[in-house]
Each structure stands twice: as structure tokens, then as C-alpha cells.
């Protein structure tokens, strides 16, 4: 793939003239060595440009040149960074003919040159989003669907930006130091323990309720469904106050419990009570959908084979709904571990991690509370990802046929 020699000679001569002109200026814009390297880089760019034209797309040459000019204006004129410019144009010319790489390159420039202080947190998620849309395109999805995905993903990146940004604020050493503080360890441990307990408590009564709601028909079922959603609606502070009014030290029930040695407010149990309240809808709703996805005729078959309804539930329905139930438990756990408003009012002691972050912020400000926040975030994300991965080991309920694809 060698261009015809007359074109080559002409291009080299013109390009040489431009660079010689720069070198011969009374006050050269570029130092001689830089100028020389840039000349070589431009030669390479020209060669790549010729390849673009050779692919029989004259309009492509214009676009190629436009991209070059944009880089030129942005990096050389605006930012005045010659070596970065040389690096970028070589990259640009190399990837131009491979659309995926070109897209990633544009995002790279966007992240690392334009949004420089937020380079990683813009480039990494945007690149993933771009690759997702690209897959849709390869699979032959319509432009409308591609557009929907792209818009949604960009907005999602923007929504998650604060969290992604926070995640990479502190060095591992700072985090290690913060993690060695006993109060931080204690708070994180308490948060994990209480949320695990409250998830189990919700599962214990939420799963049977969800099963009954999914299989049974009764009057008032719609009302009951809305009732289950109520905890999502009630503001966290209101939950805290409500719990204080019912179970707090000054209430009759609270006093009775205290007399029985079962104080709830300001104890481990109090935290669990608040978490159970806020997290139960997530588990019940998801488990309900999971049970509805188990074909009812499988239960019928099980019964005709001699299994009682209870046996059928444990041997057929529950295993097939288990994946959905686990998803519900993950959601409930996530909601429980992140609860702050009700806990700080109802059970501010012992300290859970979100309350600790809040206290650190009040006492020492953003920069001191930040590492604690980052640590909490990382621990929670790690467990979340682990659980999400765990669900892939559970069976899936098939609504349609097994292989042999009959429908």
C-alpha cells in the first residue's frame, strides 16, 4: 500500500514547506526538535489520510481533516501542549479507520483533555456505555433503540458521577489508615450485622407473604399491595419519629419493654427495627414477581405426583423462585445498610457507619469524613457485587419451553 510517488513527493514538499516556514519564523512557534517530530507525525497523519481517501470515501477525507483541526485547536492552540498533541494525532490517525477505537479515542480526549480533573470518572463509564451501544449497533438494533440506550446511559453516568468520583478520592494508604481506626471498624461491622439480621427478619415473613399474594386471589389484594409500598413513601425522618413515639423511652410500650429488659430504642434491636421497616417492600415486591414467574402447572404436576402443597412449595416453587428472592434480599439488604434518617433519630447509638460518616462531617468537615465515606462505599459495593454474582448460581424459572424450542 504505497501511494503513487508523485502524490507522495508533492505532499512531503508542501508539508516540509509549512514546517520549514515555522522554523524560519523570527520567533519560531515551536522549538526545532519538536518541530521535527511534529513534521514526522504529520507525515504519518497524511499517509493515514491517504488510506482514508483510498477507501473511496472523499467525504471521509474532509471528516478526517476536521477531526485533526479540532485536535489542533483544542490541544495546541487552546492548551498549548505540543507533546500531547503529537501523541494524540498519531493515535487519532491510527485508530480513525476502526470505528470502535475512534469512538473510544474521542471519549478519551473528552475525559483526559476536556474534563481533565474528572478524567477517569468520565472516561471509564462513558467508554463502557459506548461499548454497550456499539454492541447494540453490531446486533442490528434500530437507531431509535441505540439512541434510547445512549441517552439513558449518559444520564445514568451523570447521576452516578458523584459516587464514582468519590470512590477514587483517597489513596489505599489513607483508606487503610481509616480502616485501622476501631470506631470505624466497629461502625462498619455494626452496619453489616444489623442489615444482615434485618434482611433475614424480612425474608422470614416477607417470602411467605409474597407467595400467598402471588398465588391467591382475594378481595383487598390491590389495597394490600399498595400498603406494602407505604414504607417507600414515608420520609425517613417521619419513620424515626414514628418509631420513637411508639417504642421510645417515654411511650407506654417502650416503658413496658424496658421493664422487661428489652429496650429497643438506641440498641442493636432498634437499628434492626428501623431497617426492617424501610427495606421490607423491596423484598416482598421482588419475591412476589419471582413467585408469579414460576408456572403454576409445575406445582400441579408436583401434586399429582404425590407431593403435599408444603412439599411442593419447598421442592419446586421455592427453588425456582430462589433467584428472584435472592435479588429481593440483595435489594432489601442494600436499602437496610444505607438507612440513615430513621436510625439517627431512633437509634443513634451504637454508631452505624452512615451515622458515623454524618458525625465525622459535623465535627471535622468534608475532608475528614470523606475517607470514612469512601471506605463504607467500597465495602458496600463489594458485598453488593458479590451477592449479584452469587445469584447466577441459582436455578432460573423457565416460563417457556425447554430446548426443542416449541413456542
Amino acid at each position: 500500500m504505497i501511494p503513487p510517488w508523485r502524490h507522495t513527493a508533492l505532499a512531503v514538499l508542501i508539508l516540509g514547506g509549512v514546517h520549514a516556514g515555522i522554523a524560519l519564523m523570527p520567533q519560531p512557534l515551536l522549538a526545532t526538535p519538536t518541530n521535527l517530530v511534529l513534521f514526522c507525525a504529520n507525515l504519518y497523519v497524511l499517509y493515514c489520510g491517504w488510506l482514508v481517501v483510498r477507501d473511496a470515501r472523499p467525504a471521509g477525507a474532509g471528516l478526517f481533516a476536521l477531526g485533526y483541526m479540532l485536535l489542533f485547536l483544542l490541544v495546541l492552540v487552546l492548551l498549548e501542549r505540543e507533546s500531547l498533541f503529537i501523541l494524540l494525532v498519531i493515535l487519532y490517525a491510527s485508530v480513525y479507520r476502526v470505528p470502535v477505537l475512534l469512538g473510544l479515542f474521542v471519549l478519551f480526549v473528552l475525559g483526559y483533555v476536556v474534563f481533565q480533573p474528572y478524567a477517569f470518572e468520565t472516561f471509564a463509564p462513558l467508554a463502557l456505555a459506548f461499548l454497550a451501544v456499539w454492541q447494540l449497533r453490531r446486533a442490528g438494533a434500530s437507531r431509535f433503540v441505540q439512541g434510547c440506550l445512549a441517552t439513558g446511559l449518559v444520564a445514568l453516568v451523570l447521576v452516578l458521577l458523584p459516587v464514582i468520583h468519590l470512590m477514587i478520592q483517597d489513596s489505599p494508604r489513607t483508606l487503610q489508615y481509616v480502616f485501622s481506626r476501631p470506631d470505624v471498624r466497629g461502625a462498619i461491622w455494626l452496619s453489616l450485622a444489623t442489615s444482615a439480621v434485618s434482611t433475614l427478619v424480612v425474608a422470614l415473613w416477607g417470602v411467605p407473604l409474597a407467595y400467598a399474594m402471588a398465588r391467591g386471589e382475594f378481595r383487598g389484594k390491590g389495597l394490600l399491595e399498595s400498603l406494602i409500598d407505604v414504607p417507600i413513601l414515608v420520609p425517613q425522618s417521619v419513620v424515626g419519629i414514628a418509631l420513637l413515639v411508639l417504642l421510645g423511652p417515654a411511650s407506654p410500650l417502650g416503658e413496658a419493654l424496658q421493664a422487661a429488659g428489652l429496650t429497643v430504642a438506641g440498641r442493636f434491636a432498634g437499628i434492626v427495627v428501623a431497617q426492617v421497616f424501610v427495606s421490607c417492600p423491596f423484598l416482598i415486591k421482588t419475591a412476589m414477581t419471582a413467585f408469579e414467574g414460576v408456572p403454576a402447572h409445575l406445582e400441579d404436576v408436583s401434586r399429582t405426583l404425590g407431593a403435599k402443597t408444603r412439599t411442593t412449595f419447598f421442592r419446586v416453587t421455592l427453588p425456582l423462585a430462589s433467584r428472584g428472592i435472592l435479588v429481593g434480599m440483595i435489594l432489601a439488604w442494600a436499602r437496610a445498610v444505607s438507612e440513615f434518617g430513621a436510625i439517627i433519630l431512633f437509634a443513634p447509638h451504637p454508631l452505624t457507619a452512615p451515622v458515623l460518616v454524618h458525625n465525622e462531617f459535623l465535627q471535622a468537615g468534608v475532608s475528614e469524613s470523606r475517607p470514612v465515606a469512601v471506605l463504607l462505599l467500597l465495602v458496600c459495593l463489594w458485598i453488593f457485587v458479590l451477592l449479584q454474582f452469587g445469584k447466577t448460581f441459582l436455578p432460573r424459572a423457565f416460563k417457556s419451553t425447554p430446548a426443542g424450542g416449541l413456542r
Binding site: 405426583l305 404425590g306 425456582l320
Partner: protein, 264 residues
């Protein structure tokens, strides 16, 4: 033996009306009828999955009308694929034996026996998702037979299969019936299945049985024009019109308006 006496069952708009049927021990009966005639509902009622409002069901001389499905000892095969996706082939066949608490070695012996009868040797350890439609239906059959039911109820067991597999499995059903002599009630809308399998057949329309009897009799003397047409018998016009029949069913009303009690 299956005895159904004056069975009535309401299911929303639909109703089974005064269904009477008697299937002798060891015979193969086929209920024919268009979609929505209530043949599946009838099978589900026999299996105990639906509760009749009136009437009685006796299986092998035992009144099971108020018995739960798990106590009736019926084998039910559904039209839709109904293997448990979380168990492999062996687990599916052995399911009924497992839940009824049969010892593991006895269970293995019975599963092995059925695998031999149905020619499933190659697929025993496979996940059910990897089976073809025909293999899946054989496994379903093996699973139903494993618990040694007193009657076998088949709800359009072949309707979701392709032509060749259907013919093959039809022969298989015939062979198994000859081998085990199990009282079988098979529901379908395909007359070919009925002619090839049934000793005894019944035609249903709109929740009623409009004719029942030995297959040869039903074929030779259709009770009315609808039966003749549905069974593809020539000369539907010459069939005598029963008393009280308006021939509305031929226009596609989906129900028989003859006064009750006139079943053949």
C-alpha cells in the same frame, strides 16, 4: 376403572354440565372435542386440581371426589412442557418417588426400569433444558408412570410436537398401554390420535359429552351432524337430527342445545 357421575363444575363463564363417563379397567379412552370444549377442565377435575360443584369421581372403585390431588394416584401429563427445570432427567423421573419417601435404592431401581421401558438410557443425567420436545414428553411420561398411578390422564400430550415425533410417540403410547394395561384417558382434538389409540371414545362440546361409546360405534353411528363433521365422517347430512337440536353448533356456537340426558 374411571367412573364420572353427573359432574358439574363452574369456572367463570365456562361450565361442565352433567358429565357422565365410564372407562373400563385397562382400556384406552380418548375424549375428542374442539378447543374450549372443557376436555382439559375435565381432566384437571379428575386429577383433583379443580373442585366440582356436584357429582362424583371414582377411580378404581374408590370415591376420590373430595380427595386432594396427591392422594388420588393419577398420572397427569400436560400439553405444555412441564419438566422441573431445576432437576435433571433422573431427578424428574424420580421426583414422585422422592417426595413420597421411597428408599433411594428402590427409587433407583424403578427409575432404571422406566428408563428401559421408554428408551431414555442416553439422557438420564442430562439437564432437562437440553432435551428435544419428544424426549421431554417421554420423560414426562416416565415421571408420571414412576409413581405407579391407577389411571393415566393425558392432556393433549402430542399437540406440541412436530409431525414425525408425534407419530413416533403415538406408537410408543400404544406399546406402553399394551405392556402395562393401565387405564388411560387421553384428551385431544386430533381424530387420527383417537382412531389409532382408542378402544373407547367420547366427543365433547361446550362442557357436555354429546356422544360416548366404543370407538367403532361412534365412528359407525355418529349421534348427530356435529359429531359426524368433527370426526370427518362422510355423509354428515344423512345423520338423523336428534330431538331438540337446532344445529346451532354447526354454525360455531361451541355448545350443544339438545336437552340434557340424551347422551349415547
Amino acid at each position: 376403572m374411571i367412573e364420572i357421575e353427573a359432574l358439574e363444575l363452574r369456572l367463570g363463564e365456562f361450565a361442565l354440565q352433567d358429565v357422565r363417563l365410564r372407562v373400563e379397567t385397562g382400556s384406552y379412552a380418548v375424549i375428542l372435542g374442539p378447543s374450549g370444549c372443557g376436555k382439559s377442565v375435565l381432566l384437571r377435575a379428575l386429577a383433583g386440581l379443580l373442585r366440582p360443584a356436584r357429582g362424583a369421581v371414582r377411580l378404581a372403585g374408590r370415591d376420590v371426589t373430595d380427595l386432594a390431588p396427591e392422594l388420588r394416584r393419577v398420572g397427569l401429563v400436560f400439553q405444555e412442557p412441564s419438566l422441573f427445570p431445576h432437576l435433571n432427567v433422573g431427578g424428574n423421573i424420580g421426583y414422585g418417588l422422592r417426595v413420597t419417601g421411597l428408599a433411594a435404592n428402590e427409587r433407583r431401581r424403578r427409575v432404571a426400569q422406566l428408563v428401559e421401558v421408554l428408551g431414555l438410557g442416553g439422557v438420564l443425567g442430562r439437564p432437562v433444558t437440553s432435551l428435544s420436545g419428544g424426549e421431554a414428553q417421554r420423560v414426562v411420561l416416565a415421571r408420571a408412570l414412576a409413581v405407579r398411578p391407577q389411571v393415566l390422564l393425558l392432556d393433549e400430550p402430542l399437540s406440541q410436537l412436530d409431525h414425525n415425533t408425534r407419530i413416533e410417540l403415538q406408537q410408543e403410547l400404544k406399546r406402553i398401554h399394551a405392556e402395562l394395561g393401565l387405564t388411560t384417558l387421553h384428551v385431544t382434538h386430533s381424530r387420527e390420535e383417537a382412531w389409532s389409540l382408542a378402544d373407547q371414545c367420547a366427543v365433547m362440546l361446550g362442557g357436555r359429552i354429546i356422544q360416548a361409546g366404543p370407538t367403532g360405534d361412534v365412528r359407525g353411528r355418529p349421534a348427530c351432524a356435529f359429531v359426524a363433521r368433527f370426526l370427518g365422517i362422510d355423509g354428515a347430512a344423512e345423520v338423523p337430527v336428534p330431538a331438540g337440536c337446532s344445529h346451532g353448533c354447526l354454525g360455531g356456537t361451541g355448545r350443544c342445545d339438545r336437552p340434557a340426558g340424551g347422551e349415547g
